[in-house]
Subunit: 131 residues, 2 copies
DNA sequence: TGTCTTATTGAGAATCATTGTCAATATGCC
DNA sequence: GGCATATTGACAATGATTCTCAATAAGACA
């Protein structure tokens, strides 16, 4: 049974207030900065459980860090991510799901998962001069 | 200037003989097993330079490891990867390319790149009992 | 409300891929 | 051959993530 704890709420609500993806480390830092005291390991565990419950998204940044984001929907979806400001658009694309599914089965693969993310510069960031 | 060394050749040819993606660690292990002596750091550096020269592909596995593969084509493509044995199928899917492209432009994104990889267990590995 | 079971926490150690250090070595150009 | 320097390798260092395990607290139940 999953118990409700102060820490779990703190992590979930902190995550919900952040517009883009954050790392566990950063989230932990922000929580501590605002007075919440909780262990880093707890943040990792809580984020993992949120992902497990489809209440958060996870993705690996180009430099190998795991980033998390509160899900607005629990349905499977993909992302369009601004590599400059981190702004994220959630994407649902049945065509891609079906493509991935049939691709895997055509080649005899089972238990297929897929990673489909699009990175670019959003309209706002495209208009800015280089950072 | 880039110099040709025994180690670079060893890494490049070892990589070329492997059908799928391998980690730097694994490749280093195989090289040592076949008698080549070279440092792990050298394998990392050489693989990075191969990627830099577009002579190798790199991707990050679901568990955060960097995997490398000798490029057979310089054309843009995706992969269907066995998470057990690393066997890889190269995929070209214009539909996905167009989808990603139009998705990005619909949302005002510029300079879009995408990550599209499918992981699963290949037919051979699916037939095996659990490792 | 009090008790009990056990999920959860937290501080720090441990893991593990990857990168940095730097003296020793080897390559390409003359 | 000789030189400048790119490269190597053994090892330390980094850094994110996970593990350990005793202490704590959530929730069920009486
Ligand atoms: Zn942006
Ligand atoms: Zn999908
Ligand atoms: Zn396989
Ligand atoms: Zn593509």
């Amino acid at each position: 049974m999953r118990r409700n704890t102060r820490q779990r709420d703190a992590v979930a609500s902190a995550l919900a207030q952040i517009p883009g993806f954050v790392s566990a480390q950063t989230l932990h830092g922000q929580l501590k900065a605002q007075g919440d005291t909780l262990g880093l390991a707890t943040v990792y565990r809580t984020l993992a459980s949120l992902v497990d419950d489809d209440r958060a998204d996870i993705l690996t940044s180009p430099d190998g860090e795991n980033l998390y984001r509160a899900c607005t929907t629990s349905r499977h979806h993909h992302h369009l991510i601004c590599r400059t400001c981190g702004m994220t658009v959630e994407i649902e694309a049945d065509a891609v799901e079906q493509w991935a599914q049939s691709l895997a089965s055509e080649h005899g693969f089972t238990g297929a998962h897929h990673v489909v993310d699009v990175f670019g510069d959003c309209a706002a960031c495209s208009a800015q001069p280089r950072a």
